[in-house]
Structure formats: structure tokens, C-alpha cells
Symmetry: D2
Subunit: 289 residues, 4 copies
């Protein structure tokens, strides 16, 4: 069984740290107590850091804002790479005009808007505008009527040959200590199997998000992949994705993967992190700077 190591001693070996958000910096109870110390230490040591998150429900500014409101003031919007940003880049590059129909909240739709594109909730698609729809985006599991709007989405996809984008690959997310909630990625997989077409997915473990963060880090520092460590709580997104991109990885036990079963799950999935730590929090005594 792999040993649990000290988080600070690990990040001391790298110049850049990528963090998952949910299960690493925060959970259903809010921000992890003491996590701000980790970022103070990184800044003091002039290490670069980025938050790499499968979250398309809000813009980086809104995500940063939610960190600030929870007392984690240090993280700025330009440190956050989300699967929603990849979705926006895709729309900017590949969808030039027309209506982008979406499933999600109004808030989630606003930040993907691009010049030339008009976003419209799927509920407002009808016979008069269906032929102007140039893409459909799955953004968030909230903000729409599942029964009515998922059926509308199925029929839109059957009638129009348009790109369908899934802005979050997660199938479920933790809601409380005991409950989970179906994520938009799980809903999209159902629709995909009903219509038999292949959707475009953005999010970990796909390497595109890591590449985005890597490009940003390289603008700041002269580094290569061996200078970066990815910190996450989920084997099949954070660890598999980081590993596949060529990064060393830290599995933290503060989220999806629990201390009591990380060993069984590593063996069962075959996905091995480089290191395992209790959490991404640096203990007070450890700081020593």
C-alpha cells in the first residue's frame, strides 16, 4: 500500500501546482479550513498555481468571487481554468453565427456568449427559430425543466445536424456528506445514448484543460511538464488526466476518494497517483517561512 506523504514536502519539489477545486479547496461544507495557508506559501515561494476545474456553471470571475465570499481571497479569476472556458473557446472558433441553445442557468449561458452568437435556453426553441440553431450546449444541471427540456433537446438533435457540446464531463457531484447529485455530464450521456450521436466533451481527464493551464504557466515561467504537479481528489478525472498529460500527481483524501478505500480503488481502476496526501492543507508548523 502506497504511503501517505506530507503535502508541503511534495510541492517543494515543483515550480507549478495545478489544483482541482471541488474536494480539494472546498467541499459541501465550504472552503477547507486552513487552505489559504497553502496559497500564501505558494506565493511566498514564487511558485505558479492554477485551478483546473470541471465547472461550466459559472465564469472564472464568478468562481473566484465565490471563493472570496467563502474567505479564500487569494485566488484571482486569471488563475482559474474551467471546462466552461474551453466551451467558450470552441464556440468562438467554430460557431460563427446563429443561436446557441443551452441547458443550464442564465448565469452559465452569459459567459459563453460570443460576438455573433445569441444564446437561448432550450425552452425557447420553437418551430420559428429551430433552423437558426447552430449548436447545443449542456452547461449545468440547474435552470431548466428536466422532463420538458431534455425531450426538447433530444428532438432538436434528431432534426438538426449541429455540434452538441458537453461542458462538464462529471456524471455526479457530492451534495452533502452522504448524498450526490446527477451532474450535467451524466444527463448528457443519457441523451447521447438515446440519439446515437457523438457529443463534444470538455473537461478532465481530457488533456485539453491541462494544455490550457500549461500554456498559461509557460507564459509566466520557463518550465516543462516535469516541473508541474496536479493535485486532485478523483482518480478517473484529476489523476488519470494529469498522468496522461505527463504530469506527476497528488491524490488528496479530502473529497471523492476516502482514506478507508483509496488503496482498493487504485487497485480496482489501475490508476495510480505519484503521491497520496491527507489534504492540500499545509499544517501551521510546516510553513516555517
Amino acid at each position: 500500500m502506497q504511503q501517505i506523504e506530507n503535502f508541503k514536502s511534495i510541492i517543494d519539489k515543483y515550480k507549478v501546482v495545478f489544483f482541482d477545486a471541488f474536494g480539494v479547496l472546498k467541499n459541501y461544507n465550504g472552503i477547507l479550513p486552513g487552505i489559504e495557508k497553502t496559497f500564501e506559501y505558494l506565493e511566498a515561494q514564487r511558485k505558479e498555481y492554477y485551478i483546473v476545474t470541471n465547472d461550466a456553471s459559472r465564469s472564472p470571475y464568478q468562481l473566484a468571487d465565490s471563493f472570496h465570499k467563502s474567505g479564500l481571497n487569494i485566488i484571482k479569476a486569471d488563475r482559474i481554468i474551467s471546462s466552461g472556458m474551453l466551451t467558450k473557446e470552441y464556440l468562438d472558433l467554430q460557431v460563427r453565427d446563429g443561436i446557441v441553445a443551452y441547458l443550464g442557468t442564465t448565469k452559465s449561458a452569459h459567459y459563453i456568449e460570443s460576438s455573433g452568437l445569441h444564446t437561448l435556453p432550450i425552452s425557447e426553441i420553437n418551430d420559428t427559430n429551430i433552423n437558426k440553431v447552430s449548436a447545443l450546449v449542456f452547461l449545468d444541471d440547474e435552470g431548466f425543466d428536466w422532463a420538458k427540456d431534455l425531450n426538447k433537446a433530444v428532438n432538436l438533435i434528431r432534426k438538426r445536424t449541429i455540434p452538441v457540446i458537453v461542458a462538464n464531463t462529471d456524471r455526479a457531484y457530492p451534495l452533502t456528506v452522504s448524498d450526490v447529485s446527477i451532474a450535467i455530464g451524466g444527463i448528457a450521456a443519457m441523451i447521447e445514448s438515446v440519439v446515437g450521436k457523438q457529443f463534444i466533451r470538455f473537461g478532465k481527464p481530457d488533456s485539453q484543460m491541462f494544455m490550457f493551464a500549461y500554456d498559461m504557466a509557460r507564459e509566466q515561467l520557463k518550465i516543462n511538464k516535469t516541473d508541474i504537479v496536479m493535485v486532485g481528489d478523483t482518480l478517473n478525472t484529476d489523476i488519470l488526466g494529469g498522468n496522461k498529460f505527463g504530469l506527476d500527481t497528488v491524490l488528496v483524501l479530502s473529497g471523492n476518494t476516502l482514506a478507508k478505500d483509496f488503496s482498493t480503488r487504485i487497485t480496482a481502476t489501475g490508476i495510480s497517483p505519484t503521491y497520496i496526501c491527507e489534504s492540500a492543507v499545509i499544517e501551521g508548523g510546516d510553513l516555517g517561512f
Copy 2:
């Protein structure tokens, strides 16, 4: 390309005919004009017939009633075998007491009730009764709040090791000439992939429904499988299922499979019916009895 044959000349070769309901006897416009002639002919010829349908939303009595209301008076409840009946048999045999939680309408739940079992919509499951739940059944895509109740279903399945039964394997069903609707089988497949457990499915192409009908037919006539022909509109349920059970099959072009593409779909799926007919309607002049 396979030839389109005359329906009457085919059923003349068999003693028993199994029919799918939707796409064969009726569609979104109601009962197929003239279909009652087919059943009059079968009765006149003393051939046995059964309706074998992936429908768990209503009991055989309610299904027969809906045929009668649409003008097809000849079909009695005891001629109808539905995936809901298999679900009821399963609960009778395997679930002895406790609460059966369900997704569907109240009507769909009533007829699966068994002695010793109490059915309760998933919306009424809570901390005080969750430990008494002994099974969860997916019955119908209507009668519940998808967003709220599907999330409740996910968490029930995560917390309790109970059998989960899907009473209809279809992923979608036709709503109008151009639109489909997601069926409870499609919803159940999403939940199955989110929780990672294996559900119990009843419905074509599984052979259990054909066996049920075969047992009923053998109580009436001394027959074997070569005396039966299965008539359906869908390759991967009716035709694959009938074929696998060892029955000859007729693909009719009045429902899911259209005259313009049956040939392509047979080649693409590798599922071949024994015969192909326009529909299960016997033309007036054909009757001659």
C-alpha cells in the same frame, strides 16, 4: 433486398401470432385503420394471438380498455403480455415485504402491488422509511418530477442494496410523426451508469416475455415454436427478440422502421426478419372467408 410480402399469406402458415402493440396495432394517431379485420380473421381461423408489449405504464386491463376506447374491441386483457406483468411476477416471487419505491404514475404502480408489499412514489421516501424500502421500480416516464426524483433514486440506490427493476427496456418512443419522447428505459440507463450497479430489466428483446406468451399459447393449443410468428416494427426488440427465442418474424413498416430505410437498417444491425410486410392490416379483398 428482401421482398415485401402479403401479410395474410404469411399468417396463413402459422397457428399462433404474437403482435407488438405500438407501431403495429396503433401509433400516435391511434388505432391503425382496418387492423380489427386482422383479428376477426384470426378468430375465424381459430388461430391464437397475443400482444407482447414493452409497456409497464398500465395493467393488461387498462391496455385492453384503451384499445376498446379507440375502436379495437376484439382484444381482451388475457391476450396481453406486458413487461409490467413480468415486473409484477418478479415482485410476487422475490420481494416478500416492505416498501416498493417507484418512478411512474400512480396508475402504473397500482397493478404491480402484491400482497405484503406497499408501493410508494420515490418522492415520499425519506429518512424514516428508507430502511423499509425493499425494491425500486422504474415504471413510466410520467408521474414524477425528473430533477428531484431521479436524484432521490440515485441516492436511494447508493444507500441501500436492493433490487432495481426496469419494467420497460425502450430508450425512446414516438410521440408524433416527427418527435420522440425519452422512455423510462432511457432514464434508467442513465441512473445505472451514474451509480455503477446492474439493474434487472424486463422487456423485449429478452426472451422472458416470449416465454410467458409461449406458455399461455401452449395451454390453449398443442404447438411448438415453429407454429408461431412474431410481428413487430422494431428490429432490435421485436425481431431480435423473436428470432433469438426461435420464432419466425415479420417486420412491418407501419412504425419505427420505414419503407425508405428498412434495407439499410437490416444491413447495418445484422438483424434480419423472416418476412417484411407493409403492415399487419389484411386488405378487404384478401379476407375471402
Copy 3:
């Protein structure tokens, strides 16, 4: 956690017992020591029993013969229902003439031969006879050249719209205490995904094998499903299949499912047996007859 119970006290409650073969009656070391006592007891008590096995590599006579050679003399061929028998019944009913191409040993092919059909190993299919092929059957993982003959199978299926039958649904089988071997069901799944067509599968957990055994038992005794118990070592074939067919089930810990992890696997899969026993061997002192 479910309790481990005494096997004799369980079978005393039923009139008919269905047994899986591999992992229950025998394993890679041969026949389970003492298992003949179980069958002596069943015969003394005038209980019916059947062996229900996903094995298409040999006929029931050859299977019985291999039991006899290993010292289990009591089991006759007419007590054995195999997925190979379903395959033979399918060919008898649905494939009237032409060549049945197969992957497997010559021995496995002989017993599926029917009047009017000629079996030929896939290696002997060529341009002159390909148009006479009326079915392809996956029988056994031995007896052919995987690289050469699997590629021939792919191209045969692409060129001809014929039924493809998989006579064993298992993906792997135990070879020694530590090693497994890829089964013909695993190989067939690969070919299915490469060609994108749907194959016809025979074997547990599908209910067709249970129905076959049930029909045979009803010819001997006036029983219904509550009089039968299914004994198996594998959750997702024996237990799920028996359970779905409406039978009570015994999980034995002498094969695929080990004493150290049955509890975890029941929770993970959601598949619950009615009872759990060490093995199907009745201890000497238990017999008392």
C-alpha cells in the same frame, strides 16, 4: 453483512435445485471433494436437479463424461443444460440450410450440427463458399488461430447479413488459482464492437437457459418457481439470472466469489443472493439419512 448458512438446511426447503458447474461442482483442480454426497442426498430425497452451465465447448454427453472421468458418476447427460444446447436449438429452428461457420474446436462444432446444415471452421471460408454461409457461431476460445481467424470473422460479418451467435456469455474463466483465460464471450464482444452489429447471445444471466431447465423439471414434477433454488458462484450470471427468472438463489464461495470479498461485491453490484454458503458440499455428519 449476510450470514453464511448450512447448505443442506437450504436445499431441504426446495423440490428442485439448479447448479452451475464451474466453481460449484468443479474448479481448475477437478471435482470438489465430497460433492457426490450432495447428489446422493438429492436422489435419496427424490429432489430434481439440473446443471445449468455457460459451456458451449462440448455436448451434454461429453460434459457428463468428463464428470464421470473425474469421479462424479451420478450426473447423467440429461441433467445438463448448456448454452451450447440453446445454440443448437436456435440453428434447428432458424437456420435451415447452408454453411454454419464457427470459431471453436471440431468437437464443439459436431454437436451443434443439424440436418440440412454443414459446419465449417472459419479458416475454411473462402471466396467460393462465403455466399453459402448462413450463420456464424462463437463456440470456444480454442481450436482456431486468433489473429488470422478473428480477422476472417470480422470480414465475413461485414460482407454478409447473417445471424452471429455467441454460445457463451462469459468474458473470462479461471485457469489456475491465480490466472484467468479470455473466454469466447470476451472475444465475441470485441468483434461486436469492431463491426458495430448486434450478436445473439445465449447463456446466463439471460433467462432462456433457466426456462429450458424449468420446462424439463416441470415434465418430472408438478412445481412452480418457488420450489426451485439456483446455486452458483458468480453474482452477475448465476445469481442475477436466477433472481431475474424469479428463483431463490444460493451464492457459494468455492469459485469466482471469495469469502473475503463477497460482501463488498454484493454491495458494489447491487446483486443479492437469497442465501450464502461455503460450498455445495454436504458435510458427512449432515446427511443423516
Copy 4:
């Protein structure tokens, strides 16, 4: 239906062109007649070009060499990005020592060797060296005994928690005008489903290969994604992958996708290229330079 356009008029709009190899530059008959003109034109116009290929059977030098032998002399090894290169980069970054077991030819193994790593065909793995194996790589469908070595691979993966890398995502490749061959990606998918673990896959449609090519192009020219067009013959690798990475795409009809059914397949899959051309060959009269 989308119109077929002139290839030269399309590439005139871009600064960089990415090409798939098989089905675009060559097929089972060898190099496409006249394709060298396309590269002469690109060089004359000082446009950058890269070959982006799901081929892990040979190194870029060996691939370039095979182009030269077939009469396409212009393409140098440093223009070729293969899924094998990503595999090598992964091993360099993530697997520091020990034995890399492989399935493939000796040639395919040589070029992935890294300092500190020793490659060994799976056939040479045994009880004395199995604990030194630090990764398993699926490289090529040739060079090993399928029956023996695939079973060894299954048991290696069951016994050791090591990364398993699939260096080519294709399930099949064309062998002649009418036959295909199972590719190493198809074989790996079978093994993945037998062992129930998640492998690491390199190749289109994953964006990692496009990123690799994009990084190389940016070292030569100051460009962004809108300056690049991806040319390929396969919707679900070349076109989906290019599109997802944010590139415009050209579907050519000289390989997997045929003139007679491109329209049906675009509708069926939902994957739309930006343009469609007969082939990547520039007609003599078109050149005019």
C-alpha cells in the same frame, strides 16, 4: 447536402495544414497519385504542414522512410506526429525505470525505448521478471501470438497495478478495397473490458496529438488556431478531433468515408466537417504557380 469543394481553394485560406496519413496521403494501393504536387505547392507557398497519424507501429523516421520508398520524397520525419510519439513522451515523463512490456513488433518497441527503461515483448514476461514490469504498452496488432500473449496481458494487468498504454485508438484499418483488419486499439478495448480497468489512450480524436502539432507549428510561425485546417478521411477521429481542438476541417473522400455515403454518415454521427473535397490532390491545372 454539403457541397464538394476544390481542395486548393481551401488551403489557400490557411497558413498551416495538418494531414492524416492513411486514407489521405496513401491507401492499401500505396501513395495517392499526384499527392506530391500538394506538398510542392505548400512548400512553394511557404505554408507549414504536419502529418498527424494514429500509427504507433513505427517511428517518424521509419514512417518518412516508407513515404520515400513509395515515391513521396518531400515529407521529412520532423513533419510527422504519431500516437507512438505521445506514448514515448509518456514513458519518458512518467515511467522512470523497470521493464516496459509490449504487444507489437520489435520495430515498434525500439523507438519507444527511453533511458532507464528496458522493453520486453509480453511473451518474455515470467515469474522472475513480472515484478519489475512498470508499464504495458499496446503498440501494433502484429509481432505476437494473439491467443497466448493476450491471455498473458490479461493476467499481467490483473496482478500488477501498472499504467497500461494504448498507442493507437483505431479499432480497425482497411487492408484491401473490401477487407479490414482488427487494429491494436480494438484488441486493447477487449482486454480493457475483460479486466475492468481504465487504460491510457493516445491518438485522435483526443486533442493531445493536435496540441503536439500546434506547438511545433507555433515554433515556426506566429499563428493561432484559426490559421490551421485539418485534412482527414475519418469523421470520428480526424474531423471530430480537429473540430474539438478548434480547427477548421476538410473531409476527403479518398479513404474511410465514401462519396456515396458521406452525407448519411454526417447526419448519423452529427460530426460535420467545415469542407468536403474529393481528395487532397491538387489538380495539375490548379497549381498555376
